[in-house]
Symmetry: C2
Subunit: 226 residues, 2 copies
């Protein structure tokens, strides 16, 4: 398992960011407030300094959780780099502090910090590899597809042990796989039995991202060889 | 549809690469020769200057085409950036010229060319978005999954009209989706009827990558709303 976006190197870079006294660009968001909406133009680079942010996509009348952003990670980065409208909505899940650099500032900062840009390349490369693996797994069996979707949704936390509302996880997996909710609930119960996922009140949390990914691979192999 | 890795900006950068007189690092590969193998350590940055390269993955006794690399594109880039072993095998599909920069040279070149690094970030961001979309589509219906797999495999060519051996396409889609070969052949015939895919002798070629992606979205919507 590769290290997540919230790896030490990344936190280091965040400190560099802060050294250039950009605290004027820090914004506070109270829980449940919207940071940007689907379709908004990508005018800023966002870095989550404190709190938690969720990205969700709306398609038709369905809203599905896409990803959980944890402290020290960028979000909306691809859209910023490509100048393409945001494809999801970013909402503060907890009271959060976000560094929002306007485009001109962000670009000149990036271009004058090649080491940081190099780290950004590494981050994007890691993401692209994760997605590549998830796509491969998604093609094989329902179980592998579910595991890959759960892995993509929750891996923002690295091996993050933070709890996510159970209903939100169900909706996210439904959005990603289109499988019946009953089947998804059975799958989550099986992951709980295997101690890959834990449960607390109305929330689920990932006990080991690595184990989840290995389980997805196992399901795929089972389909293949079993 | 976003521009591919072989966009004008990228070709520009390749010229920059050449201006620093790196022709000592150009290597010729005759058709069917192997450039690197699965599991090899990522000691070089590869840029395809001329010809065509295919990336294939072996799993168990199955070998499946993963991607077609076209002139002006990098390959093995994620592994290079992450220092992780190659996850696929790169083979020259035609007689090819490859710029192979050893790590120390590539890193110092990249770090002294922040504009080029920025372009690399854009390239990786584009790739990550493509994969994200493909994963979303892969979760929905067999047709959307097949279309997404075909799109990922062939989009190396942008709207590339180059032909790919039919058997290789079938095996690639089988590798990515695990669906029966008969179903995959029917799907390709349907794409031919819709003029998304063309056929010449023993090869298939993509008439429009954009139309293929729209078709994948349509299949997903049909599953969703139909």
């Amino acid at each position: 398992m590769e290290k997540g976006a919230d790896s030490p190197g990344f936190l280091q870079s965040r400190k560099q960011f802060r050294r250039v006294k950009l605290s004027d660009y820090e914004r506070q968001y109270s829980a449940a407030s919207v940071i940007y909406r689907q379709g908004d133009s990508p005018d800023s680079l966002y870095l989550l300094e404190k709190g938690r942010v969720t990205l969700a996509k709306t398609r038709g009348d369905k809203r599905s959780l896409q990803k959980i952003v944890t402290e020290g990670s960028f979000f909306g980065l691809e859209e910023f780099l490509l100048g393409a409208p945001h494809e999801d909505e970013a909402t503060a899940a907890l009271d959060s502090v976000v560094l929002e650099l306007p485009r001109h500032l962000a670009e000149s900062y990036l271009l004058s910090n090649p080491k940081f840009l190099y780290e950004l390349c590494e981050y994007l490369a890691r993401k692209s590899r994760s997605l590549d693996k998830a796509f491969f797994l998604a093609g094989r069996s329902e179980g592998a597809r579910l595991a890959a979707a759960l892995w993509l949704t929750l891996q923002g936390g690295g091996n993050g042990q933070f709890p996510v509302n159970t209903e939100e996880v169900l909706q996210s997996l439904f959005g990603a796989t289109g499988l019946p909710l009953g089947k998804i609930a059975d799958f989550l119960a099986e992951l709980e039995r295997l101690e890959i996922v834990g449960r607390s009140e109305h929330s689920l949390f990932l006990k080991s991202a690595e184990k989840l990914f290995r389980y997805a691979e196992y399901l795929e192999d089972k389909e293949h060889f079993g």
